[in-house]
Amino acid sequence: MAEPMGFYTDTTVCIGCKACEVACKEWNQLPATNGGVNTLSGDSYDNTRRLDGIHWRHVKFIEQFPEDRKDGRWLLMSDVCKHCVQAACLEVCPTNAIIRTEFDTVVIQSDVCNGCRACIAACPFGVIDINPVSNTAQKCTLCYDRLQSGMEPACSKACPTDSIQFGTIRELRERAGARVQQLQNAGEKRAHLYGADEKMLGGLNSFYLLVDKPEVYGLPPDPKMPTRNLVPGSLFSILGALLVGLIGIVNFRRRGAGEVKEARP
């Protein structure tokens, strides 16, 4: 197994050019939305709106402006599959279409997926969706095909500001730690890393440098594995089954004959 590879996305240097979105679409030959007819979201420069089956990269535009518009800032963040070390989608996938590669990344095999959509509901980040052309669930593959031939993913290759950086997780974490330190020293006390350490789902192989709370970026502050509910859910269901069984047995055994007469004169 090769060393774990991933993305480190420094949101503070993202300029919202969407080169990553375009590079991703080009490499993976993903179709245009709505037959190429431009639809505007109408509330932002962000017309991609969300990650789905034909958008595996999405630059989020978060506008933080007060009512009087005197001050303000744009938060820009190129969102992508987090390639979780403990992957919720891979865990629940009932066809094993979702696999873990030698680069520690998570990839959906489009010739195996049958579109049950369990992974879509399981992903805590809302990354996966059905690709309308293949009718299978799809998401970022961290350019598995490029990685296998020793190339870096299309999005990070295209990123003009190095907001998206690709490399071994070890190296990326060092780089990210230094950057957080730099920002903190410069007075940006809110700078922190999201998903770099092991606390969140064992670690995210695509982690972020954020300068606000995760919720502001549309990221869950506390993502969890779906199987957390498996044992309690099953135990309560068994309890329900026992109670129902008990009620059934008692009532089929003790059938009041009087009741029959009473109801049928």
Binding site: C116, A122, E215, P226, L230, N251
Partner: protein
């Protein structure tokens, strides 16, 4: 900004829609009817056998329709077998920690039992002249084994869907561990109601129908408790039901589907002859609306 009650708010919808709601309804009926029929076979009296046969017919029919619906809910239905067989290695596909994976196997196994019992009741009703099939009906050891295993599988099929919804990261579904229990209990009440309606129609009324009616009352009371516990266990997430879905849950399920049938049970002479059938119809409708609300109310939630 964006104070959300749960981290589940950030997940995306799988768009499980009407086909899934119908499957949840039919699957619950299939499992519940088989379970009740098996109980009649195991602990009931011989004169209730016609009722049990009705249950087995209903179970098999509902399961077949439900299974087909489920298959067509896949966006690639022709690949349904990938759920059972690994498409590359051709080894059995089984993840004991994934409810959808266990559920697929449970459906197939339960389907086999439902089919065996279906053949048995066909033979018993004289619609199938196959001697061996008669052995699948009680009395007899084989019949008892089939009833025990099939009945348990029936309950499993009725309840696993609730656990499946909980083993996700969707709002409401995964914010409570009680959905599976709710589905099991509701499946029992719906199935008892369904069998009452069927028995009334087919004029094969057996005395056991009153036992079913009584079971319904008990299970409905239990269902009410589970529903209350579920809303409490949701905590701040329950605010996701402060909308039309919550109203539908309250009036369609709690009032019309639980409280009204319970009232009809305690006041047996309110509607005279039609008392029992009205109560049963209400329970059945309530069970459907419950599944509808659970599936669809999670759709619009999120950031």
């Amino acid at each position: 900004m964006n104070a959300v009650p749960s981290s589940t708010w950030f997940s995306a919808s799988p768009e499980w829609g009407w086909l899934v709601v119908l499957y949840l309804f039919l699957g619950s009926l299939a499992g519940g009817c088989y379970f009740l029929a098996a109980l009649i076979d195991l602990v009931g009296r011989a004169e209730d056998r016609p009722l049990a046969r009705l249950g087995y017919y209903a179970a098999f029919t509902c399961l077949v329709i439900g299974g087909i619906l489920l298959m067509f809910d896949l966006t690639r239905p022709e690949r349904f077998w990938h759920l059972l067989l690994q498409s590359h290695t051709f080894r059995p596909m089984f993840k004991y920690w994934s409810p959808m994976s266990i559920g697929s196997w449970a459906l197939v196994t339960f389907g086999a039992f439902a089919f065996i019992s279906f053949l048995g009741v066909l033979a018993e009703d004289g619609l199938l002249s196959w001697r061996a099939a008669r052995h699948m009906r009680p009395p007899g050891l084989l019949a008892r084994v089939i009833a025990v295993i099939g009945g348990l599988l029936g309950l499993y099929v009725a309840g696993y869907t609730g656990v499946l919804l909980a083993v996700t990261n969707r709002p409401i579904w995964s914010d409570t561990p009680l959905l599976g229990m709710l589905f099991v209990v509701s499946a029992a009440s719906m199935s008892a109601a369904f069998m009452i309606l069927l028995a009334r129609r087919s004029a094969r009324t057996a005395p056991g129908i009153f036992a079913l009616h009584r079971i319904d009352a008990w299970v409905l009371a239990l269902e009410l408790l589970v529903l209350i516990a579920l809303v409490i266990s949701l905590g701040p997430v329950a605010r996701a039901w402060l909308n039309a879905w919550g109203l539908l849950l309250f009036f369609g399920v709690i009032v019309a589907g639980v409280l009204a049938p319970l009232a009809l049970y305690w006041r047996r002479d309110w509607l005279g002859e039609r008392n029992m059938t009205t109560a049963a119809a209400l329970v059945l409708a309530g069970g459907f609306i419950l599944r509808l609300v659970i599936v669809f109310s999670a759709e619009g939630v999120g950031v």
